[in-house]
C-alpha cells in the first residue's frame, strides 16, 4: 500500500542520487530507477544510497504516490504517462540546452517546461519543485527545521493540497518550502531567470518571487 512516505525517484544521476540520500535520511522508502535495468545501478544504489531500492521505472511508480522526475528533461517523452496517471509528480527537471538539444520545444518563452510535462502527463498532478537549487547545494545545505541558515525551495503547482504535500516533503528533506503560485508561475525558476540556482533563505526567496513580474 503506497503511502506519502514512499517515493519513486526517476533518474539515478547526480540529482536523483542526492534526493534519494536526503529522503532516506528523512525516513522515506525510496524506489529509484535509472534509464536502463535496475542491475545497472544496483551497485551505485547500494554504495551511495544504502536503504533505497533500485527498481524499474514501472516498479518504482507502482510503489509510490509521489514521483520525482530527476531525469534529463529531453527524455520526458519516455515516461509512462498511463502509469503515472493519478500520481503526484514533482518535476525537478530543467531545460539544459547542452544536453537536451538547442532546437527544441523548450525554447518557447511563453510556456514553462513543467507545463509541457503536465500536458504530456495528462492524468498526473504535476508540481514544479526542487528544480532551482544545484545538487551540491541540496547536499550541503539540507538541515533540520528551525535551524539558522536553513535554505528554501520554491514550489509551483495548481492544486493547493498537492502543493501542501510537496511542502511537507521539502520540509522533510531539509528545506523551507515556499509556494510561489500555480504551475505556470514555475517559469521564474527556469534557467535564465533570477531564481535559477537560488540557494537562499525563505524570506529572500519569497521576496524575489513576489517582486518578479
Amino acid at each position: 500500500m503506497p503511502t506519502n512516505k514512499t517515493l519513486a525517484i526517476l533518474g539515478a544521476g547526480k540529482l536523483g542520487i542526492v534526493l534519494t540520500q536526503l529522503a532516506i535520511k528523512a525516513g522515506y522508502s525510496v524506489y529509484i530507477a535509472g534509464s536502463s535495468s535496475p542491475d545497472k545501478i544496483a551497485l551505485t544504489i547500494k554504495v551511495l544510497t544504502p536503504g533505497a531500492t533500485a527498481a524499474t521505472v514501472n516498479d518504482a511508480i507502482d510503489h509510490a504516490d509521489i514521483v520525482i522526475l530527476a531525469l534529463p528533461l529531453g527524455k520526458y517523452r519516455t515516461l509512462p504517462a498511463g502509469l503515472l496517471a493519478g500520481k503526484l509528480v514533482i518535476d525537478a527537471m530543467n531545460y539544459w540546452w547542452e544536453v537536451d538539444g538547442n532546437d527544441s520545444e523548450f525554447n518557447n518563452p511563453t510556456t514553462s517546461s513543467s507545463e509541457i510535462v503536465q500536458q504530456f502527463l495528462q492524468g498526473s498532478r504535476v508540481v514544479k519543485a526542487i528544480s532551482h537549487m544545484g545538487y551540491h547545494h541540496l547536499h550541503d545545505e539540507a538541515r533540520p527545521a528551525g535551524q539558522t541558515g536553513r535554505k528554501a525551495i520554491a514550489i509551483a503547482g495548481d492544486d493547493d493540497s498537492d502543493n501542501q504535500a510537496v511542502a511537507t516533503l521539502v520540509n522533510d528533506l531539509g528545506f523551507d518550502p515556499v509556494i510561489i503560485g500555480p504551475l505556470a508561475r514555475g517559469n521564474i525558476l527556469e534557467p535564465g531567470h533570477e531564481l535559477f540556482g537560488a540557494n537562499l533563505d525563505h524570506q529572500t526567496l519569497q521576496a524575489i518571487a513576489s517582486n518578479h513580474k
Binding site: G34, L43, T44, D140, F196, G197
Partner: protein, 367 residues
C-alpha cells in the same frame, strides 16, 4: 592498473602527487589588457617550465572550444612543454573523447609519450562543455553512447595489440594495429569524472584510475564516490585503486591578496559561462562560502595547504591538482602562484600529511 609512479616514498605514507591544471584562460598583461590566444598559450608553457623546475609532479591541460580559453589542442602545448622540461608529467585534463577519435587520441598521446620519455598521460572525459559536438559534427543526443563506445575502444587500444572492434559511432576495426607503440607498453590513462555515479562505475569497469573534478560544494560529498569506485573495481575484478581530485584555486602571499586577485577573475569567468547556461551572476556570498567551506582553494600558502591537506585526508586521494588562473587574471600573479604552489604549498601539505591526523590542525585554515 596503477599509474607509472616512481616517486620516492620516504615513509609508510603513500606518495601523493601534486599537479597544476589549466584550460589556458586568457590572462591580462602588465597594462591590464587581455592577452592574445597565442600569448596565453606561451604563458602556460612558461608556467609549466617553472612548475617542472619546482618539482611539481604534473601539468594537466584541458581541451575547450570557447572564447575564454586558449587551449583546444592540449597535446600540442604539452609536446612543446616536453621539449623544455625533464620530470613533470604531461597530462590532458580532459581530452573530450566523445567528440574525438580514440585511435587518433591514442596516437597523439603515444607520440607525446615518446617525445617526453614516457611522461604522457591522457585523462579522458566527457567534459563539462559541449561546444565540441557541433564543431566536429556529433549529435548531443548521442552524448551517452559516444562516450560509452569510445572508452571501450580506448581500453582495447591501450593494450597495444591489434584491435578488432565494432560499434555504432565510428567505423569498425579488424585486427587494426596502431602505432607508435609506447616503450612501457602502457599509455598512462585516467578518466576524469564530475560526480556522475555511472562515470565512476564505468572507469572502474575498465580499470582506469579516476580524477574527480570537484568544482563546487564540500569535498566530503565525494567520500561515497570513492567507496563506489573501490566497490566497483572489486566487483569487476579490476585492480585499480588510484583516485585523484582536481579543484580550482589561487594562491598569493596573503589571504587578502589572493581573494583580491581571484574574486574579479572568478566572477568574470563564472558570469560569462553562466550567461550561456542560464544561471545568475555569482554573488560574493557564494564565492566566500566556496572559499571557506567549499571547493575554492584560495588564500595564502598556509591557508591553501591546510585546505588541500584536509581534502586529501578526507577523500584519501593519491593526487591533488589545482586548477589555477581561472578567469582574466594578471599573468604575473599566475606565475607567482605557480612559484608559491611549488615552493611553499606542496612542501607544507606533505609536512601536514606526515603528521598524525588530528582535527586540531584544521583550525588555522578557518581564519
Amino acid at each position: 592498473m596503477a599509474t607509472k609512479n616512481s616517486a620516492p616514498a620516504k615513509s609508510d605514507q603513500p606518495y601523493v602527487q601534486f599537479g597544476l591544471d589549466s584550460f589556458g584562460d586568457l590572462p591580462r598583461d602588465a597594462d591590464g589588457r587581455l592577452m592574445t590566444y597565442a600569448a596565453a598559450i606561451r604563458q602556460v608553457i612558461d608556467e609549466a617550465v617553472l612548475a617542472d623546475k619546482l618539482g611539481i609532479d604534473a601539468i594537466a591541460l584541458g581541451e575547450h572550444h570557447r572564447s575564454e580559453f586558449s587551449i583546444s589542442s592540449p597535446e600540442m602545448v604539452l609536446a612543446t612543454i616536453a621539449g623544455k622540461t625533464t620530470n613533470i608529467k604531461l597530462a590532458s585534463g580532459v581530452t573530450v573523447l566523445s567528440s574525438d577519435d580514440p585511435v587518433r587520441v591514442f596516437q597523439r598521446f603515444a607520440t607525446l609519450d615518446a617525445a617526453s620519455n614516457g611522461r604522457a598521460q591522457v585523462i579522458l572525459g566527457r567534459g563539462s562543455f559541449t561546444e565540441s559536438f557541433p564543431l566536429f559534427g556529433y549529435d548531443l543526443k548521442d552524448y551517452e553512447i559516444l562516450f560509452e563506445e569510445k572508452i571501450q575502444l580506448f581500453a582495447e587500444l591501450v593494450k597495444e595489440e591489434p584491435v578488432t572492434w565494432s560499434g555504432t559511432t565510428r567505423p569498425s576495426l579488424t585486427r587494426a594495429d596502431v602505432f607508435p607503440k609506447t616503450e612501457s607498453k602502457h599509455l598512462d590513462t585516467l578518466v576524469g569524472v564530475g560526480g556522475s555515479p555511472q562515470s565512476v562505475v564505468r572507469a572502474a569497469k575498465y580499470g582506469f584510475p579516476v580524477m574527480l573534478a570537484i568544482i563546487g560544494g564540500s569535498p566530503d560529498r565525494f567520500v561515497p564516490y570513492v567507496d563506489l569506485y573501490q566497490h566497483a573495481a572489486r566487483e569487476f575484478g579490476t585492480s585499480s585503486d588510484f583516485i585523484g581530485m582536481h579543484s580550482p584555486g589561487f594562491i598569493a602571499d596573503t589571504d587578502a591578496e589572493a581573494v583580491k586577485i581571484a574574486w574579479p577573475a572568478h566572477k568574470a569567468n563564472f558570469d560569462r559561462i553562466g550567461k550561456s547556461r542560464g544561471w545568475p551572476p555569482i554573488t560574493r556570498e557564494h564565492f566566500d562560502y566556496e572559499v571557506a567551506n567549499g571547493s575554492l582553494y584560495i588564500g595564502s600558502p598556509e591557508t591553501v595547504a591546510q585546505k588541500i591537506a584536509k581534502s586529501i585526508r578526507t577523500l584519501n586521494v593519491q593526487r591533488f591538482d589545482l586548477v589555477y588562473g581561472g578567469g582574466p587574471m594578471p599573468a604575473s600573479a599566475r606565475m607567482h602562484m605557480v612559484e608559491l604552489y611549488g615552493s611553499k604549498v606542496i612542501p607544507r601539505v606533505r609536512e601536514l600529511l606526515a603528521q598524525p591526523d588530528k582535527p586540531a590542525k584544521t583550525k588555522n585554515a578557518d581564519k
